[in-house]
């Protein structure tokens, strides 16, 4: 293509954007809103994923140790566990510590005394699984180890938690997918309408001898410009809203970790930008082809 022609395409796209302002604004608005909705969906999806992961990773196995274990044996047991790739971490809780916790919980500060000095509790190990979903198997394995007595991991609660997180995960994927499809449809509808209302223009251009490429290129540039500006507009609002939340909400909810890693967020922004641009440009192209066959 000649430099001359390329210059013409850019000039053409620029004036067309201005003169078809109703159409331009409509397209940019729609893309903007769609990217915004998608952005909210993706943010919700990723943050709920993070929260779920946090909740799941809090699940732990308590292995009560047998009464007669030596310090050396206890240490050895811990080392063995730590070497197991299914184990994320092991923490030793002495029976005194356990009693203190119990006292606090029971609202009694003289439990030991009332038991006449003998602590009936056992030492225990708190074990986190590398993959919280396999906590059941890990618990069974731990129970079989020498020196380990009873093993508890709140089976009921953990099962509830996992079936909840399982469905929340599925639901959030479904919603993101649905909103993604909605965005595609909405942008397709708008671009179809804008091209539709310019169909006579396209027809005349064809009659005057313009090639498809000659007609398409300025439309492509227009679609590009509108997508980029619409997307950036949405991202600015999304970003402001999200950082507001990180500033003001996150401190109150420190235990529910929001995604604050700037790299992840930038990647997400880039993804949305690409999605927005693809939406606008592909929508324009598909709609355009319908009217080029003259």
């Amino acid at each position: 293509m000649r430099w001359q022609t390329i210059k013409y395409f850019f000039r053409e796209a620029k004036t067309s954007l201005r003169r078809n302002s109703v159409l331009s604004i409509a397209t940019a608005t729609t893309i903007s809103i769609c990217v915004f909705i998608l952005g909210i969906a993706v943010l919700l999806y990723m943050n709920s994923g993070q929260v779920i992961q946090k909740l799941e990773s809090d699940v732990e196995i308590v292995a009560f140790l047998e009464d007669d274990l030596t310090t050396y044996q206890t240490e050895e047991l811990q080392q063995t566990l730590k070497k197991n790739p299914a184990v994320l971490s092991v923490t030793f809780v002495s029976k005194d510590e356990a009693l203190a916790r119990l006292e606090n919980k029971m609202g009694e500060y003289d439990l030991l005394e009332s038991m006449e000095g003998s602590n009936p509790l056992n030492d225990s190990l708190e074990i986190k699984a590398t993959n919280p979903r396999e906590v059941g198997e890990l618990a069974a394995a731990v129970e079989k180890m020498k020196g380990v007595g009873k093993v508890r991991y709140g089976q009921d609660l953990v099962q509830k938690l996992f079936s909840a997180t399982h469905w929340v995960r599925i639901l959030s994927v479904v919603i993101v997918v649905f909103l993604g499809m909605a965005a595609v449809f909405l942008v397709a509808t708008t671009t179809r309408l804008t091209i539709f209302s310019r169909r006579k223009e396209i027809y005349i251009m064809k009659l005057v001898g313009a090639t498809n490429r000659f007609i398409r290129f300025p439309f492509f540039l227009e679609g590009m410009a509108l997508s980029v500006s619409g997307t950036l507009f949405a991202l600015v609002f999304l970003g402001l809203g999200y950082f507001y939340m990180i500033e003001n909400v996150q401190p109150a909810l420190a235990f529910l970790p929001m995604i604050t890693d700037i790299n992840v967020l930038i990647k997400m922004g880039l993804g949305l930008t690409l999605a927005g641009m693809a939406l606008g440009v592909i929508g324009t192209f598909i709609s355009l082809n319908k009217f080029l066959d003259v």
Binding site: Q4, S16, K200, M205, K206, L207, V208, G209, T211
Partner: protein
């Protein structure tokens, strides 16, 4: 032989038979009037030549190339060889007079200098200098028609096809346009012109093809028709 039509018929989707077994030839450099009642098929004839419509039957050749068998990619080239003045002008509403005329040159890839010089000259020729930056909706009927004329001739195409190019023009302006056409014709451009203006046809003394209900009913050189 620039235009050849062999047994061309055209029926539209709704069953209207616009052209019926038309066979004719037009030589390079000819000036041909196309006459006939309203609905006789003049515009259809033109649409077939530029492949805006395809004939139902028959063969059409423009500059020895079959219009029917042409690949899609070749159509733009065909149309660039033909400058058409449409009955309903078909101006680009969102472009100014200047841009409308220039567009035809941008399409063929002319340079900016060429475009600048020729567009100005052509707008002058049709008497619209000073209105370059108006949009079609800001022009009178006759002015719009002249923009269409300017666009059709600006590329100096092989053929100029004019569908009722003086329908919205007063007698004086119409004659100016006819002189312009004659001059272009003298320089070698073939001209095919559908018109109702008996006066003009009579005085120009050129070949006249008469259509009636889609059939060629007469094809004579320099006659003055009733």
């Amino acid at each position: 032989m620039l235009v050849q039509m062999y047994n061309v018929s055209k029926s539209y989707d709704n069953g209207v038979r616009a052209l019926n077994d038309v066979t004719l030839k037009i030589e390079r450099g000819e000036f041909v009037f196309l006459m006939g009642h309203s609905g006789a098929g003049k515009s259809t004839f033109i649409k077939l030549l530029m492949r805006e419509e395809l004939p139902t039957r028959g063969q059409i050749f423009v500059a020895s190339r079959s219009v029917l068998r042409m690949k899609k990619a070749e159509i733009p080239q065909l149309r660039r060889n033909i400058g058409v003045i449409f009955q309903d002008f078909k101006l680009l509403e969102n472009k100014t007079v200047w841009e409308n005329v220039a567009f035809a040159m941008q399409v063929v890839g002319a340079t900016s200098q060429q475009i600048k010089a020729r567009v100005e000259e052509t707008i002058n020729m049709v008497g619209l200098s000073g209105r370059e930056s108006s949009f079609p909706s800001q022009l009178s009927g006759g002015e719009q028609q002249r923009v269409g004329i300017a666009r059709a001739i600006v590329n100096r195409p092989l053929i100029v096809i004019a569908d009722e190019p003086t329908g919205n023009l007063d007698a004086d302006t119409a004659w100016e346009i006819m002189e312009l056409m004659s001059e272009i014709n003298r320089k070698g451009t073939t001209i095919i012109m559908a018109t109702h203006a008996h006066e003009i046809v009579r005085r120009m003394h050129k070949r006249v093809i008469c259509l009636d209900k889609g059939c060629v009913v007469s094809d004579q050189q320099g006659v003055s028709i009733a």
